[in-house]
């Protein structure tokens, strides 16, 4: 087998590499160039210098959506991870029907964002109507809470699976040794389980942070950024700038925002990975 791989590696590597170059690297470079241009279609762009970036960094809506996105990301990541870990702990206790529960909790993750957004839109707006409260697209705080509920519902199951895998991979003798030494359940959790879970936490924190930051479908379907852009997150703001406006300058503004967004997401992921990696322990 190894010999075959040595001989045939180009057959396996080249198609993927080509796809990566054509589908990612080249469009990315082109996008970088376009962010300095005015254009209607990408074939006839005219250079516009730094104006796009200056506009993007001074637009009130964009800055507001940045603040909203950061707030949402922090709150949703915290909620999702805490809840997912709690459920994972509960479902590794060998109670009856564990597998059924795991499947049920995981299932929301299988439904697409747009569909979920519309379903929850109807559901939550009905509840708000019954309570006589303003709807989500009329009152930003409810929009925020709605988004939070939706994201928690969708993502907790997925993160739970990762935490369960992490919990199950902790060697049983660690726990046994701790018990023999007289550690309480709380001590076992904080001193044994949690340090050994760090790789799972790294992955989950990474996923929830980037998911929160890049959130688009759910935002579009649940509130659409209403009222008056107050629940608009970064990705939706970029989309609205690029597609909701006509005129060559808007395409450039949208493109510049997209580049800023990309840099931001990469930077945040890097910082987060470094921060949690350093806490991981070797088994």
């Amino acid at each position: 087998m190894e010999k075959a791989i040595r001989k045939y590696w180009p057959v396996f590597v080249l198609p993927t590499l080509a796809a990566f170059l054509i589908g990612f690297v080249w469009p990315f470079l082109q996008g970088l160039y376009l962010s300095f241009c005015k254009f209607v279609t990408i074939n006839n762009a005219t250079f516009n210098g730094l104006k796009n970036y200056i506009f993007a960094l001074t637009e009130a809506d964009f800055l507001h959506s940045f603040g909203f996105t950061v707030l949402f990301t922090v709150v949703s990541s915290a909620c999702i991870n805490v809840a997912a870990l709690a459920i994972a702990l509960a479902l590794t206790r060998e109670i009856k029907g564990t597998n059924l529960f795991r499947s049920v909790f995981f299932m929301p993750n299988l439904i697409g964002g747009i569909v979920l957004g519309y379903i929850w839109n109807i559901l939550l707006n009905c509840v708000l109507t019954l309570l006589g409260k303003p709807l989500m697209n009329l009152y930003a705080p409810y929009g925020f809470i709605g988004l939070l509920i939706l994201m928690c519902w969708q993502q907790i199951g997925y993160m739970m699976i990762i935490y369960i895998a992490g919990l199950q991979s902790i060697p049983g003798d660690y726990l046994e040794a701790a018990r023999i030494d007289g550690a309480t359940e709380r001590q076992i959790f904080w001193k044994v389980k949690l340090p050994n879970l760090m790789p799972s936490i790294t992955i989950c924190a990474f996923l929830t942070l980037t998911n929160g930051f890049k959130l688009f479908d759910q935002n579009l379907a649940l509130t659409g950024g209403e009222p008056a852009h107050q629940t608009e997150m970064l990705a939706l703001n970029i989309y609205q700038t690029f597609y909701g406006r006509s005129g060559p300058q808007w395409k450039g503004y949208g493109q510049a925002k997209a580049v800023l967004f990309c840099i931001l997401v990469i930077a945040i992921s890097m910082i987060q990975l470094r921060a949690t990696r350093s806490k991981e322990v070797q088994q």
Partner: protein, 437 residues
């Protein structure tokens, strides 16, 4: 065994690559057949999803007659600009597309062929249906539509009124408020819900907003402006208040009401009035639909401005055909021929009138069976002045959205009318500034 496994892997890889390569629009299949014998081909990017099938059928008929392949692709509702943007950058771009008026044209004029001297231009019944940029004619209106308040005459009679009783805003207000007062006894409301969901809010942020703009333009004798004053905003407020306070539901619920909700309420006889246009005819009358021509009428939207006795329906267009000047020479010619055929030939005009329910502003037009269109013609013949469509001069899509958002909040009580007025007046100025910035 290993070899077989490796073979399997390679095979699956090739298959997946082939699958990627096969990702061409299905419509391209139409290009087969006689394509080789014809000189050019037509690629029409259609705006109106309601007429998708009719266009496909007409394209097929044209291909059978002339051998010129015609591809019709319809953009999903609300995504025309995006679709056009990506399609036009491809190696086989649409040869025929559309813009919604002067503001839309500003974005696409570099791609529009000057149609001066073309056959189709000479077929227009009036020069006002040509969209010009300086001396060049870049777009041609291909359909004229009317909108107003659609009335369920049967219900109106039950409430003790007739269409003739409503000839001004004061009349409309009196009737609507009387129906609301007796809502429980009558079992229906005055207006179907003024839904502010994206599927319905264009009826108010665009079509209803046309009226204050129209009367302001009339007063000043202008056709477009970069700074609207909002002199008729009070009238706009009055009519919108009338809609939301005399409707099937509580104003608070309007934010989530859709276009279908409103249509269904009207169809089910829950409301007497329904603001919409001649394009809704197919939804109301016909096989499986609850109404006949005798049940319905369309009246002008009175807002208490201008000479209401002489006010007609809002009639105009926001659909202009443009020919892509970056297409191949032979395709441009084929497209011009196709357009000409659509509006002059027996088959083309027949299909546009009866299949698509269009009133086309061309000399050979066949009369449309659409009741609302006939009413518009009758009113004009009786000396009433149609209200022109001024929303193509609205500065941007964003202006409409901001206005819609403010109206939604106002209807729900979470926002004030001042926000609406500001979105209308200040938004207009800032959007015009951004348009030219």
């Amino acid at each position: 065994m290993k070899k077989r496994f490796a073979l399997l892997l390679i095979l699956s890889m090739i298959l997946s690559l082939a699958a990627c390569g096969g990702d061409k629009p299905a419509a391209d299949a139409n290009n087969g057949g006689d394509a080789s014998s014809a000189a050019g081909e037509v690629f029409y990017l259609n705006f109106k999803p309601e007429q998708d099938e009719a266009w496909e059928a007409l394209a097929k008929a044209y291909t059978e007659e002339t051998g010129v392949p015609v591809t019709v692709v319809t953009a999903a509702s609300g995504t025309y600009e995006q679709t056009l943007m990506s399609e036009i950058a491809k190696s086989n771009p649409p040869t025929l597309f559309q813009v919604n008026g002067p503001v839309g044209l500003a974005n696409w004029k570099d791609y529009c062929l000057d149609l001066t001297g073309s056959g189709i231009l000479s077929q227009l019944t009036s020069d006002s249906f040509a969209l010009k940029d300086g001396d060049a004619t870049l777009g041609i209106a291909y359909v004229v539509e009317s909108y107003g308040i659609i009335v369920n005459k049967t219900l109106l009679a039950k409430a003790g009124y007739s269409v003739e009783d409503i000839a001004s805003f004061a009349d409309l207000k009196k009737v609507a408020e009387d129906i609301t007062a007796r809502k429980d006894e009558l079992g229906f409301a005055a207006f179907s819900s003024a839904g502010m969901d994206g599927s319905s809010d264009w009826r108010f942020k665009t079509h209803l907003a046309n009226l204050p703009i129209y009367f302001e333009y009339q007063d000043k004798g202008i056709g477009t402006t970069d700074a609207i004053e909002g002199t008729y905003l009070d009238n706009y407020k009055a009519i919108f208040d009338l809609y939301i306070n005399n409707s099937t539901c509580d104003p608070k619920e309007l934010a989530s009401k859709t276009g279908d909700d409103s249509l269904n309420e009207f169809r089910n006889g829950e409301a007497v009035f329904y603001q919409n246009g001649s394009w809704a005819y197919g939804d109301l009358v016909g096989e499986g639909k609850p109404f006949t021509d005798d049940d319905l009428a369309m009246i002008p939207i009175y807002i208490g401005a201008g000479d209401e006795a002489q006010q007609g329906l809002c009639t105009g267009t926001e659909n202009y055909w443009c020919v892509n000047n970056s297409a191949k020479e032979e395709n441009i010619q084929a497209t011009l021929d196709f357009m000409n055929w659509c509006v002059t030939s027996e088959k083309g005009t027949q299909a546009m009138a009866t299949e698509m329910n269009f009133v086309i502003p061309f000399q050979n037009a066949v009369e449309s069976p659409n009741l609302f269109v006939k009413q518009d013609q009758d009113m004009t013949a009786a000396g009433k002045t149609p209200v022109s469509w001024n929303f193509p001069t609205m500065p941007s899509e964003n202006w409409k959205n901001e206005l819609g958002s403010a109206l939604t909040a106002y209807a729900a009580g979470t926002g004030t009318w001042d926000t609406v007025a500001s979105a209308f007046v200040d938004g207009w100025a800032s959007e015009y500034a951004a348009l030219n910035g």
